[in-house]
């Protein structure tokens, strides 16, 4: 979908932002560019919508060199979200969201429907439509920013530290919501952040940048299990295993219900269990991460728990199962 082919960017003042970078972003995935400040990740992103032009090499969009595409046309098909949000304070929330559809000449009724649709998608009340952005909180403003970027159904969404300026709780909420939205919109996303935790949480693929180059480009699991260099290891930081648990869903390690049929008095029915511990009030679901399921087990003093989806037991998660996954992870490192 988007291909960087030996791209080098040198600024007029002589600083080299990135040097000879090559990687490919697959359609429909979220690729996170992560690294310390000044590593060239933002420059790399801005090469996609041609806010920067490469000094050497080329960026391909659907197989076509972006330099041969009209930059205005290109940008209108690429959503763009930045940390500072950059809402137009002189326009209402609705007008902000309508910007690109208007530039593209959509008819009024279609724009109108689209605004409502996006407000709903971003969990913003309809009354916001006619309000001005200055009246909103930081989290609400960035929801509008994302809605505005998604307005014209872009093929690609570029997000430059979109949640970086928010407080930790709002950031967490927005990350979770955005993960859910991501599944619904199925857009190719390039996401820039300096936080490895955010990268692990949001990315299907992660490109780790050192100064001006990509040192590892892989899935979150692979990066945690097999950091390519010492730099990557340092960048991941402490608690690698804990991080691995955090990004692994229960569905990856759960056993089928039948394997533990003897352990449950009510197979396939409820979350009630028979291994002597407390009843679980909130059993994990297949998409819950291993870290919180493990905590659930510890808190309830149990060795296993049913995995419940829509009121049905769909599998069993066991402490030994998690342990063995944990061990596999270390062995791989």
């Amino acid at each position: 979908m988007i291909e960087f082919d030996s791209v080098t960017k040198v600024y007029p003042d002589g600083t080299t932002a990135i040097e000879d970078i090559s990687f490919t972003v697959e359609e429909g995935t979220t690729t996170v560019l992560v690294g310390p400040s000044g590593c060239g990740k933002t420059t790399t992103m801005r090469l996609v919508n041609r806010l920067e032009e490469p000094t050497d090499g080329a960026v391909y969009f659907d197989g076509e060199n972006t330099r041969s595409v009209d930059e205005i046309e290109l940008r209108r098909n690429i959503g763009y979200v930045i940390q500072e949000i950059g809402l137009f304070d002189h326009m209402t929330v609705g007008e902000n969201i309508a910007t690109v559809p208007e530039l593209k000449g959509w008819d009024e009724a279609r724009i109108d429907d689209r605004i409502d649709e996006l407000l709903e998608l971003m969990a913003l009340p309809r009354e916001f439509r006619d309000q001005y952005p200055t009246e909103l909180s930081g989290g609400q403003r960035q929801r509008v920013g994302v809605a505005r970027a998604l307005a014209a159904d872009p093929d690609v969404l570029l997000m430059d530290e979109p949640f970086g300026a928010l407080d930790p709780i709002t950031r967490d909420d927005l990350q979770d919501e955005f993960l859910a939205i991501q599944d619904r919109i199925n857009t190719t996303i390039i996401f820039v952040t300096h936080s490895i935790n955010e990268a692990l949480k949001m990315g299907d693929k992660i490109a780790i940048f050192d100064v001006g180059e990509i040192v590892q480009y892989d899935t979150p699991h692979e990066i945690l299990a097999n950091p390519a260099t010492e730099f990557v290891e340092d960048f991941i930081g402490e608690n690698r295993l804990l991080k691995q648990l955090s990004i692994t869903p229960v569905s990856d390690v759960m056993d089928p219900v039948e394997a533990h049929a003897d352990q449950f008095d009510d197979v396939g029915g409820t979350a009630a269990a028979a291994d002597g511990g407390e009843r679980l009030s909130d059993p994990p679901s297949p998409s819950t991460d291993l870290r919180s399921s493990f905590i659930t087990l510890l808190e309830a003093d149990r060795s296993m728990s049913p995995v419940v989806e829509d009121g049905e037991v769909v599998g069993v998660i066991t402490e030994s199962g998690i342990r063995s996954h944990f061990r596999d992870g270390t062995e791989g490192a």
């Binding site: 919508n49 806010l51 930059e71 205005i72 046309e73 290109l74 940008r75 209108r76 098909n77 690429i78 959503g79 763009y80 930045i82 940390q83 500072e84 949000i85 950059g86 809402l87 137009f88 304070d89 002189h90 326009m91 209402t92 007008e95 910007t99 690109v100 530039l103 309000q131 001005y132 200055t134 009246e135 920013g145 505005r148 970027a149 570029l158």
Partner: protein, 223 residues
């Protein structure tokens, strides 16, 4: 202090006694100000936009504007005499030159003051230079540009008094002949009408600004 109140009273009496002439001079004065000011707006705003858009145009434009403002107003008006002669036209040209800078600097400052992130977002979503100008830069800079227009207009009313020296009439006539004849009531009457004109124009412009902002659905709700 007795002298002051006498001058004020005599001045108002003079004004009432010569209200017909006052009206004529006021109309002349207003024409000078309006024509020169409208021309200044029509030139200064596009020039400011050019200066912001083309880095290379910026310095010469600002330098020319600064020189135009540093040259004394009397010098600009007096210079029109040898170049364009006497009367309305040379006076309007002089006042126009003098009215440019406040609008020019405010246009540039207003557009320059827009946050980089706003421009970045606009460019990133694919606005052309002209769309950026019309949808983002001018609306956001509007209050600052308009403040420049107001300052320029008020200064213009004062400078237009000097237009009488090159035969363009206006309220300068009362002030100058009052000084010549040592008739302070006439000087005061001339100054008073101009002051009222300056305040009225300033208030009218403030009203127009508010109207334009609410028409365009601008920031009125947020302010």
């Amino acid at each position: 202090m007795a002298g002051v109140s006498t001058t004020v009273l005599e001045g108002i009496r003079y004004l009432v006694a010569n209200s017909d002439q006052a009206l004529g001079l006021l109309v002349q004065h207003l024409k000078l100000v309006l024509v020169s000011e409208l021309a200044a707006i029509a030139i200064a705003v596009p020039l400011g936009v050019l200066a912001v858009r083309y880095e290379r145009a910026r310095e010469p434009i600002m330098a020319a504007g600064n020189v135009a403002q540093t040259i004394p107003s009397l010098a600009v008006i007096a210079l029109m005499f040898p170049i364009l002669g006497l009367g309305f036209r040379p006076a309007v040209v002089a006042l126009f030159v003098y009215a440019l800078l406040p609008i020019l600097t405010n246009t540039i400052a207003g557009i320059d003051g827009i946050e980089q992130s706003t421009l970045d977002a606009a460019r990133g979503m694919g606005m052309t230079d002209n769309e950026l100008l019309v949808r983002i830069q001018l609306p956001i800079a509007f209050p600052v540009i308009f403040a420049g227009i107001r300052t320029s207009t008020v200064i213009n009313v004062g400078t237009a008094y000097l237009a009488f020296f090159i035969g363009a009439g206006g309220l300068g006539r009362w002030v100058i002949s009052g000084i010549d004849l040592f008739d302070m009531s006439q000087v005061f009457a001339g100054a008073l009408v101009g002051a009222v004109l300056a305040i009225t124009l300033d208030l009218a412009l403030a009203g127009i600004e508010r109207q334009l902002r609410s028409d365009s659905g601008g920031q009125t709700a947020a302010v």
